[in-house]
Subunit: 399 residues, 2 copies
C-alpha cells in the first residue's frame, strides 16, 4: 500500500517504479521515478539525504546510476518503495512529488552503442514471404543465431520527439530517384538497457544477463522501406533506419518484471552452447500499436524466438565489450496473427492491403501528420498489471 494519492491500483503503482530523466520550469534535469501520475524527484531526494546513490540521481541522465550495478539498483528501489509506502516519510517526500503534466521528459540515458536484433520468427517469416515469395521464408542462418546489426546511437530520441520524414534514394522502374520516403513504416520493439560494462575480449554468459541489464524500454525503430530496399545489399540497413529511433521516456527495471518472465518458445534445431540459457525465459509483454488513435495491432512479446539473455550472449561471444548505456532492441515484435504484427509492412502486406486508422481514414504507410503510439502491459506481482512507458511520435513533412 502506498500513501501516494492515486497510485494504489494504478499500473504505475509502487510495484512498477520506472526510471526517467525530467525537468520542470524550476528544476534542472535529474532522475525521477514515476508513481501514479506523479514523478518522484530522486535528484531532490538524494540531495535531501532520503536516498543514497553516490550522487547519480542528480545527474541529467541515468548512466551514472546504471553503472552502479545490481546490488545498488536493488537497494535504491527498496529505499524508494519504503519512502512511498511508509507514511512516516510522507511529510518529507510529498514536496518531491511533481505532477507528470508539469514535467518535460528527456532521453533517459545517453546511448553508447545501439544494436537492433531480428528475433521474431513470425516477423522474419512475414518479411521473407513479402520480399522473396515462393522461397523458404527464413534464411538458413536464422535459427542458429540471433541476427542483428548496429544502428545509429546518435539518433535515438525520446518518445514525443517529432520524426521528420527522411529524404533518400529509392529504386523506380526508371532508375533511382532522390526524395522523401514514400514507404515510411514503424517497427514495434522492446529494448534492453545495459548498466554494467564488460571488458574487451571477454564474452558475457547468457546467465549473467541480469548482472548487466538494468531494464526495458519500448522502442519504435522507424523505417523507410523504400530507402532500405535500395541500399541494403550487401551491408544491411543504413539510412533507411538511421534518421530516428524513438524510445520510451521510462526505463522499467527488470526487478519490476519478475512475474513477467515466462518460458520462451522451444528452439529447434538446438542452439550452440553459448546460446543456451537455463531457464530459457522470455517476457510476457503485451504491446499495443495505435495509429492516429486507432488500435491496429497487439504484438505479443512472449512469442519471440530468441530471448534477451541469448541476444546478450551472442552480442559479446566475439569478445565485444559492453558499455554503460548500450541499448539492444529485440527487432520487430510480431505474433502469428495479422492483428499481432509490429510493422505496417506486415499489417498491410507490403502495402497491398490498406488498414483503417483513426479519423475514419485508411493507410498503407505513414502520411505526414500521422501519430503512432506503442504501449505495453505486463503481469505484475500478486495479480496486478503494470504498464511500460509509451513511445509515441508524429511524422513531420520532409524538409
Amino acid at each position: 500500500m502506498t500513501w501516494v494519492t492515486g497510485a494504489e491500483g494504478s499500473p504505475y503503482g509502487v510495484h512498477n517504479l520506472p526510471y526517467g530523466v525530467f525537468r520542470t520550469a524550476d528544476r534542472e534535469p535529474r532522475v525521477g521515478v514515476r508513481v501514479g501520475d506523479l514523478v518522484l524527484d530522486l535528484g531532490g531526494a538524494e540531495a535531501a539525504g532520503l536516498v543514497l546513490a553516490a550522487g547519480a540521481l542528480g545527474r541529467p541522465r541515468l548512466n551514472e546510476f546504471l553503472a552502479l550495478g545490481r546490488p545498488q539498483w536493488t537497494a535504491v528501489r527498496q529505499r524508494i518503495t519504503e519512502l512511498l509506502t511508509d507514511s512516516a516519510h510522507r511529510a518529507a517526500v510529498e514536496p518531491l512529488l511533481v505532477p507528470l503534466a508539469e514535467v518535460e521528459l528527456l532521453l533517459p540515458f545517453e546511448v553508447a552503442d545501439y544494436v537492433d536484433f531480428y528475433s521474431s520468427e513470425h516477423h522474419a517469416a512475414n518479411v521473407g514471404q513479402i520480399f522473396r515469395p515462393g522461397q523458404p521464408p527464413l534464411l538458413p542462418n536464422w535459427k542458429h543465431l540471433p541476427i542483428g546489426y548496429h544502428g545509429r546511437a546518435g539518433t535515438v530520441v525520446v518518445s514525443g520527439t517529432p520524426v521528420v520524414r527522411p529524404q533518400g534514394q529509392r529504386a523506380t522502374p526508371q532508375g533511382p530517384v532522390t526524395g522523401p520516403s514514400v514507404r515510411l513504416d514503424i517497427e514495434a520493439e522492446v529494448g534492453f538497457v545495459v548498466g554494467v560494462p564488460s571488458p574487451l575480449g571477454r564474452p558475457v554468459a547468457a546467465g549473467d544477463f541480469a548482472e548487466h541489464v538494468f531494464g526495458v524500454v519500448l522502442v519504435n525503430d522507424w523505417s523507410a522501406r523504400d530507402i532500405q530496399a535500395w541500399e541494403y545489399q550487401p551491408l544491411g540497413p543504413f539510412l533507411g533506419k538511421s534518421f530516428a529511433t524513438s524510445v520510451s521516456a521510462w526505463v522499467t527495471p527488470l526487478e519490476a518484471l519478475g512475474a513477467a518472465f515466462v518460458p520462451a518458445p522451444d528452439q529447434d534445431p538446438p542452439v550452440a552452447d553459448y546460446l543456451r540459457d537455463e531457464p530459457h525465459l522470455g517476457l510476457d509483454l503485451s504491446l499495443t500499436v495505435e495509429w492516429n488513435g486507432e488500435r491496429v495491432s497487439q504484438p505479443p512479446f512472449a512469442t519471440m524466438y530468441w530471448t534477451p539473455a541469448q541476444q546478450l550472449a551472442h552480442l559479446t561471444v566475439n569478445g565485444a565489450s559492453l558499455r554503460t548505456g548500450d541499448l539492444y532492441a529485440s527487432g520487430t515484435v510480431s505474433g502469428p496473427e495479422r492483428h499481432q504484427v509490429g510493422s505496417f509492412l506486415e499489417l498491410t502486406w507490403g502495402g497491398t492491403e490498406p488498414v483503417k486508422v483513426g479519423g475514419g481514414e485508411t493507410r498503407t504507410f505513414l502520411e505526414d501528420g500521422d501519430t503512432v503510439t506503442i504501449t505495453a502491459t505486463a503481469p505484475g506481482p500478486d495479480g496486478t498489471t503494470l504498464a511500460l512507458g509509451e513511445v509515441t511520435g508524429t511524422i513531420f513533412p520532409a524538409r
Copy 2:
C-alpha cells in the same frame, strides 16, 4: 624552419602536427601534437598560457577541442606553429616537449557513432568476383550511392591494442560450428573524424565537409570472414567486425593535407544532386600494409570512387545528425593491382593464393602472433612529404 631538434625534414615536421592524447609516468592524459620524435604537451602549454583553447587541451580526449570548430582549429594550429618556429618561444616551450618513447598514446577521441563505407570500386569488384563468380562484380546500387553501415563504436581501439581472435559461428559442410575464427583478415582504411555536430533533421551539404570534419586517422577494420559470411544475410556485418577496429593514435588535421587533395575519379552514371561535390576531390594518400614486417601491399587512396565529402552528404541526407567524435571510414582501400589491395581476402584471392610475409613464412589469413602495421604518406606543402600515424595490432589467441 623549426628550432625543434630533429624535426626539420622529418615527415612529422611542422607542416604536419597531428593531434593525439598521451600520458607519461608523471602527467595525466592530455592533448599533444607530434613534432619529429617528440610530443608537445598541449595541455601543459595551455595551462602555461602559451596557447588558448577554452581548456580543451588539458582534457583526456580530443572531443572538446574537436567541438570548437574550424576557426579555433586554425588559430590553435597557427599558434603551435609559431611556438615551434619562432626561437623566441624556445625557452618556454622546450620543457613541454616529451620524447615519444616516454609517452603512452591513448585512443585520441571518444567515438560517438562509427560508420564504415565501402567506397573502393576495385575492392567491391574483387569481393564480388570472389564471392559471386560469373555475376556482375558490382551490385546495381553501388555506383548510385556510397554503401555503408554502422559499426560498433565501443570497440574502436587505439593502435597497438592487442586483438584477441574472436570466437563465433561459421558455416561448415556439416552445419554451423562455434569456435575461433579461422579466416581473420584486415581492412586497410582511412577514417574521418567529425568535430562540429549538426542538428537532427538537417542534411549536411557535401560543400560543408571541412566545416564539420577535423581530420583523418588510419583505420584497420579487422574482419573475421568466416563469421561474417555466415551471419551477414540479410542485415549486414555484425560480430564479424565488432570485436575490434583499430585507429591510429594520431589525427592528422585536414589543414596539413592541403597539398594532398587531388581530383577524384570521374563518376559515371552521374550522381544525385546531393552527392555532387565541386570540386570533386579525393586525397592522395599512399598506404602501406606490412605483415610481420614484410611490405605486402600499397593501397592508393586516390583511387577511391566516393569522396569523403560525398560520404558525409550521404550519411546525413536522411536528416541523421552528426555528433562530435563521429568517425566514418572509407571502406577497404584497394587499387587496381593485386599489390595494391587493402585486405588479405583479396591479396590471397579468397585464401587460395598464399603470400610471403615476414620471417620467411607464408600466409592466407592471420595466425596468432601475427602483426599488421598500416602506414601512409601524403604530399605536403612545397614538395615535402608527411606521414600519417601508423595503425598496428598483433593477434592474440582466442580465449
